[in-house]
Symmetry: C2
Subunit: 206 residues, 2 copies
DNA sequence: TTCTAAGTGGTACTGAGTACCATACCGAAC
DNA sequence: GTTCGGTATGGTACTCAGTACCACTTAGAA
């Protein structure tokens, strides 16, 4: 293929970038393998670097710390959720806002369950390591802030923009716990948690 | 006072225990002072130990890690909440369960606000340090588990026992965020978050 | 007074995370 | 193809959190 056509082929990022991508994957793979073998606590960053065939220094260029490697595709997920949420029309009442986030979250649960093996490994890792549970919580709260800011930008009242994402998180966590780490059961459990919230209070007669 | 009356005076714990209590307080005080001066990240455990006039080793005998010292009275709070919650009659519907936790949490918010200065310092510390935010999240989730187990032990259905505490946590966090670290506003904000949840869905006409 | 268990502080270690440096290599421009 | 600039790499050396182990002190009971 003549060189002047090269620019017309978008499906070939420069070598630099491909190498970076490759190194990243190697590190993640190495880390997950070692974590599965020995548990998070008994694996050192040096171990991971060695198996991934990179220097210890390089590990920290790709991941801010040891925990971060266990959340390798969290950023992708956040971006996906943000995008989905932004696509929906603005609302300014609590029930409506929650219904919207419900849609988005349930959709994503399905996607997560698609890569069931990875989901299972990740969940197990997080469930068994307090430090990773903490970090997972941070990720979730970051996500809440994204939803909140998105809603605020669309003129939702502050109380709603703050509360709705937190409630959604509660439903997700409950669903996650109730599904016991089974990716196939996740979507259903989460959706039913959302349903419970809406229905419980609607039918309440005081 | 003759020795044989000593046992009849309950208001005097043995010296050992008093010393322990004292050392603990010294460490907490030293830590909070240093954190306020230089920020959590720029204070080493050695610094804290030195100012508290104990050995570095001793610090770790009182607190499992550096973060823990920032949550010095968390255990007391958990015990208090547990006790309050246990005193209430069993319920097995979501709305009822949430109303119960609401009572308990709102009550405690009042108590927290009472020691306003400490609350402010603690909140600020946590808000400004991601590592402490993570740890705070862990504490909250531990608390959720306490509520959950308490409800399960009283025969509540699992979905309710799991979901209700998570929703309550959502309300608390929302209230906390909306009150902007002001202890005086905390109780009101949290209570109104709970109210929103109940009312939003009750009045919903689909 | 004596004995035991609890508490203390010191030393020495591992491992996470950072700063810095010299080297290697991609990619573009000549 | 050669050269050149910026980027990625891996190594060394450091700080600090956290742990294990030690000898020493001291509260409190016998």
């Amino acid at each position: 293929m003549p060189a002047r056509y090269a620019a017309a082929v978008p499906e070939r990022p420069p070598l630099r970038q491909r190498k970076r991508q490759r190194a990243r994957e190697q590190i993640v793979e190495a880390a997950y393998a070692l974590f599965a073998e020995r548990g998070f606590g008994d694996v050192t960053v040096a171990d991971i670097a060695e198996r991934a065939e990179v220097g210890r220094t390089t590990f920290f260029r790709y991941f801010g710390d040891k925990q971060e490697v266990a959340f390798s595709d969290e950023q992708r997920i956040v971006e996906r959720l943000t995008e989905l949420h932004r696509a929906l029309p603005p609302v300014d009442d609590l029930a409506g806002a929650l219904a919207q986030i419900r849609e988005v979250v349930v959709l994503l649960c399905g996607e997560l369950a698609a890569d069931g093996e990875h989901y299972r490994a990740h969940e197990r890792l997080v469930r068994e390591n307090p430090e990773l549970r903490d970090r997972a919580a941070r990720k979730f709260h970051l996500l809440c802030e994204v939803f909140r800011d998105n809603m605020l930008a669309r003129g939702a009242p502050r109380e709603v923009a703050v509360l709705a994402p937190q409630l959604a998180l509660a439903c997700y966590r409950a669903g996650q716990e109730l599904s016991d780490g089974d990716p196939a059961a996740l979507t259903g459990a989460v959706d039913s948690a959302f349903a419970q919230v809406s229905e419980s209070f609607r039918s309440e007669v005081t």
